[in-house]
Symmetry: C2
């Protein structure tokens, strides 16, 4: 990887409560890593190529921790239903198309191009159930030099026939991808992706949890997005305390690094479990508006020390743009503030920026900020 | 004005409940007016210049019925307060700058350019209290060939000293603008603009209502945007039934064509009065989110037959983009649907499009749609 100095107006959030800004400074990158921010270029960096971005902002790449690649053709369409009928009417029929690799390649190339164009350099992505389509998506991400976790979706119940997997086959395909891709790239990695409890038998969830632990692979799924969904899970698993407890019983809730999308209707027990297991919440406010799901009480999560990032949730979300998601997150938090009699404080600008960069970026490691030892900043 | 044929994919909403689409058709414009939509160009139009927009949409220009021109430099800034402290902290100090015509010209040129760039061809605009600045804004709109109502703001109480007008002078300045501009342009017209009840003494409101009637000039103001504001109006005018009744007493509520922005906390009496007087509601969902004002029950207005359009409300709104306002309007209506136990139905896509075009456009006359006698459409 090359070394370079970028010159412009540098902005980032070292923590959620403040922006750090350096007007007309150099950001020096060595072997793909930020090594310092300087007013004048030091002698040792003088031979690095300089890219001038005068009067432009230099910010960390955006991090989108929840989106569905095969739903991209539905962007902005079919948002007249709530979650479950929306899945059955628009989403599952679209996802069924991805056994066609030619179709998949066309969509996935466009998606990756658009992520790059919108400044999203790291993302955590659902593919479809299809093994070959998932490998294709991972290869395209590797070619792009963008950072990503990509998950083959697992479903063996309550879906349309074309998407209903044989349980054993679903686990075998998942393991094959893990073995093939876990060390293939430093930037693109597999993530275990049970769609959500209603789509997965306990046998499948158990098998996926076992794989997660055996290979130390992270996990992503959905949690408490919609009131009908929450009721459905309760009726499917009356023996469990709540929705999160089902995942937790099968090692899919923080036993390895885990992200749960939405988290609008979490119980106190679910919040405690997320905090204890440091499960990430993917806050997807555009999607939560569009599917009439509701408003996540994001302040509760932050106050409790639960890690939070933002997700476009395409195509429940109508836009890949993380600034659009940041705006929606702030706006939603203001409505939640009113709704709670001004108890849960709205997100600030720096908090929204932090969530869209380091908040989600920390799931990858040191991603999403330009934090530096003080001595390096001149 | 010239005649022209535009070729492309034509979309508009003849009413709020449906899109009308014509793929790869000609839209023929004669002397600035749409005369028909045709699959093949008729003999009589064959000599018109044709502009090809293959695979592109041809839609009516967007109509923004509520924005504040002098607040444009604050776009996206200072959204951490509710209405009244927001006005005093960020907005009034910015508006006080517009006695400087050089500053005003810089801002207003940029605003008009951006309106054009975003496809907003008709807008209803607040200027500041400044007479010369308002005339400058009107002249710049005339030069731009965009359609606009522009109002000099009137304020003679409860504001910062730089913006507090002498009552007589405020009325004289307003009348001077009316006389000078009412017949100057067919596209750009004056509108009477008491900021809102708390900013205007009864003497000023009476004088403005008299001017409205005498010259048959439309009126715009704000209504029931924020709970503290509503309480304030109640305490200023305990003798009136409600906020709208104050305007109504002074002929500022539908006695001539009137727009009221926001209308979040309207009483049933206020809704009845709006319906009876056919007062337009300017729905500004981005602003209502950003200033933590609340969610307007837009479905109630539509069901009642109150005319409604959309407003960016820059800079309470953070974007001039009418598609952004359409998205926010749909999203807000979905949250209102949940809040009312699924009683007030969400806006559909065609309704949002209609509100952003013909809904507000009808305030100007036949603006915002391509409605045509059926025989003209081939």
């Amino acid at each position: 990887m090359s070394s370079i100095a970028l010159k412009g107006d540098i902005v980032f959030t070292p923590n959620k409560d403040a922006f750090k800004t350096y007007k007309d400074h150099y950001l020096v990158v060595e072997d793909g890593k930020v090594v310092g921010i300087f007013k004048e270029l030091k002698e040792e960096y003088k031979n690095y190529p300089v890219k001038e971005y005068t009067d432009k902002l230099i910010i960390p790449g955006f991090v989108d921790i929840h989106l569905h690649a095969p739903q991209y053709p539905n962007l902005g369409l079919g948002l007249d239903k709530e979650l479950i009928p929306w899945l059955n009417t628009y989403t599952f029929p679209e996802e069924a198309k991805y056994n066609d690799l030619e179709y998949a390649e066309k969509v996935y190339r466009r998606l990756i191009y658009d992520l790059w164009r919108k400044g999203t350099t790291s993302s955590i992505v659902y593919s479809s159930i299809h093994k070959e389509g998932t490998k294709l998506l991972m290869d395209l991400f590797i070619d792009s030099n963008l950072r990503a976790y990509v998950g083959k979706v697992n479903m063996d119940r309550n879906t349309i026939p074309e998407l209903s997997e044989d349980t054993e086959k679903s686990l075998e395909d998942t393991e094959e991808i893990i073995k093939e891709y876990n060390d293939k790239s430093s930037l693109v990695k597999p993530i275990i992706t049970p769609r959500f409890v209603p789509s997965c038998t306990e046998k499948l969830m158990k098998g996926l949890g076992d794989l997660a632990i055996r290979y130390d692979i992270p996990v992503q799924s959905h949690l408490s997005e919609n009131t009908d969904e929450v009721e459905w899970v309760k009726s499917l698993h009356p023996e469990f305390k709540d929705y999160a407890s089902v995942y937790n019983a099968y090692n899919l809730f923080g036993q390895t690094k885990t992200i749960m999308a939405h988290c609008i209707y979490n119980t106190e027990n679910e919040l405690d479990l997320m905090e204890k297991n440091q499960v990430y919440a993917a806050h997807c406010p555009n999607s939560n508006y569009n599917l009439s799901s509701g408003i996540m009480p994001v302040r509760k999560f932050l106050d409790k020390g639960i890690p939070v990032g933002l997700g476009s949730d395409v195509s429940g979300g109508h836009s890949l743009s993380m600034p659009s998601v940041m705006v929606a997150a702030i706006q939603a938090s203001k409505m939640k503030w009113l709704e709670t009699n001004k108890e849960l404080k709205p997100l600030t600008s720096s908090e929204a920026f932090f969530l869209a960069t380091e908040g989600g970026g920390s799931f990858f490691g040191k991603v999403g900020s330009f934090i530096l030892p003080q001595k390096m900043v001149k």
